[in-house]
């Protein structure tokens, strides 16, 4: 049931002389919403980038969907990339294409479905993420920040991935949109059987939809587990991150 989807063992990452990860371990199970937490510069985005093959750790093994990323062949990598969707922090929509074309591009490249069906699929993905129907004809430069996030999520969901990576999905959204976004992610996880890995700073998101998380700090994983499990530990970074004792999460 709780099979492991992503497993990181002894990951070491360094940029030049600067050590980012010092023997990091974490594992992400099927069908859970997992977060990488930590202050700025704690290397959580770097870890996410390593999981999606944009960067390579200096040493250590990283397995995604059972495939070791150290020994992956280009063909396997291409297959793997079709099984995940990635939402970048700034959206990263192709600015020369409309929102609809941004989504349809994946269907045109990877399937041979008839245009009518692609059209229908683009329509429902846009509707699914809560964008108005006319949004498909707009260019990314004509969208507001929140709409860009939604459009990027629609694109990430285009191929019905089993694994969804989100880099700060709620940053730059208003509180209500953030909660709607969270609810949408949770609903998608339940209905589509997704596994979601996200980098986030949003305490409400952590509180409401995250199942388990890893808290990164001091180049290590300080704690991994559910919120209640992690709050049992006593560590200054945990106290600081969850603002324990002040206006954050109460003991």
């Amino acid at each position: 049931m709780n099979s492991i989807i992503i497993e990181a063992r002894d990951i070491v990452t360094a940029f030049g002389d600067m050590l980012i990860h010092d023997h990091i371990n974490c594992s992400i199970r099927k069908n859970e919403i997992y977060a990488l937490l930590g202050g700025s510069g704690s290397g959580k985005s770097t870890l996410l980038r390593e999981m999606i093959l944009l960067q390579h750790p200096k040493s250590g093994t990283l397995k995604v969907l059972g495939i070791d990323l150290n020994t992956i062949t280009p063909l396997e990598a291409q297959n793997l990339r079709r099984q995940w969707g990635v939402l970048f922090q700034s959206g990263a929509l192709y600015s020369s294409l409309t929102v609809g074309e941004n989504i349809a591009m994946l269907y045109h490249e990877y399937t041979d479905l008839p245009p009518k069906l692609i059209d229908e699929l683009v329509g429902i993905k846009i509707d699914l993420v809560g964008l108005p129907p006319h949004a498909r004809f707009l260019y990314p430069s004509e969208l507001s920040g929140g709409m860009v996030k939604r459009a990027a999520l629609a694109r990430a969901l285009a191929l019905d991935p089993k694994l969804l990576f989100l880099d700060e999905p709620t940053s730059g959204l208003d509180p209500l949109s953030s909660r709607q976004f969270d609810a949408l992610i949770a609903q998608l996880r339940d209905l589509l059987g997704l596994t979601v890995v996200m980098v986030t700073h949003d305490l409400d998101t952590i509180h409401h939809i995250i199942d388990r998380f890893a808290l990164l700090g001091e180049k290590k994983v300080i704690a991994e587990g559910t919120l209640n499990e992690v709050l049992q530990y006593n560590h200054p970074i945990i106290d600081y991150f969850f603002q324990r004792g002040s206006y954050g999460i109460k003991d």
Binding site: L113, I124, F137, L157
Partner: protein, 372 residues
Amino acid sequence: MQSSSTAHLEIINEHFHTLLQCSGMWTLPYLSTVAYQLETLNPESSVIWDVSHISEIDSAGIALWQLYHRAFEHKGLESKLIGANPDHDKLYRLLYSHTYEPEQPPKTHSWLYVLGHETHQNILGIGTFLAFLGEAFVLLVYTLLHPTQIRYRSIVAHIFATGATALPIIALSAFLIGVVVAYQSIVQLQKFGADIFIVDMIGISLTRELAPLITAIVVAGRSGSAFTAQIGAMKMTQEIDAMKTMGFDPFTFLVWPRVIALMIVMPLLIFFADIIGIFGGMVIAQAQSHLSFSEFVHRLQGALPIKHYIIGVVKGPFFAFLIAIVSTYRGFQVSMNTESIGYYTTKSVVNSIFLVIACDAIFSVLLTELKL
């Protein structure tokens, strides 16, 4: 019932209805054959979809069913679904929670409208360019009245970037132009035994016309495009907005340092191109008609009045002004998408080369009329 590694659709025609027996994996990678089966299907009686044997379905599967469900109903046929399990139902509800209505794409306009619109835009473009020029000059006057505001460091940095680092490519271009002109003319002059006039030919044509023009074209391609791309990128990253909010005027900080630097550098580059171009001619003259370097230089002193050289060099600041002002203006026009940087950089180079040639033509007519 069927092997479940792909999507299947069995069409059973019965008396009063068409039964569509769906089975297998109705997921994205397997749907294309089923989609074409449905496309060619033309039922005449009510349709019943039996989905009880579908092993796995995703949004594409649901969308496919919904698309043809609607199409059949549109034809006035009844379309019923049997055997849906709660999972299918939940997914359907998620995907079609709102009454989804396909939106018509915005209308495209007739060619006449496009022509009129483009013409109007171009006329407005002249206006905005003049406004840009006007604002630039207002700020130039202001800066000159407050000399502490002049960005000396920036000017020097641009002199280095647009001048010193351009020397190799300008040397190469000017040398080759000298070689080409000398080679072509020497063949003609030899027919008349007038080889010695190669010196006049090279001296006058290079210093007066060719060296300034070639230098301006190389600079427009090299520095003009760089100016547009630099300012465009700054605009995209909101750096220009940040400068404005801090009270750093983009004209004093970005436009004038580039314009002034280029206006200082261009005459120097033209002078450099003159020397290298004439040297190129000398090399060919020696190789082709055994005219030694010292003879060439001796003849050049008599054959090349100083005015040709001065006219060539004086054109420099004018060309420089046109290149720099057009390319910075195009930089400010870049909008928030990555394609526009390329678009405006191309436009800036094309515009500035055109303006340089037009300006050269005006010089040529004016100076000839003035008997210079």
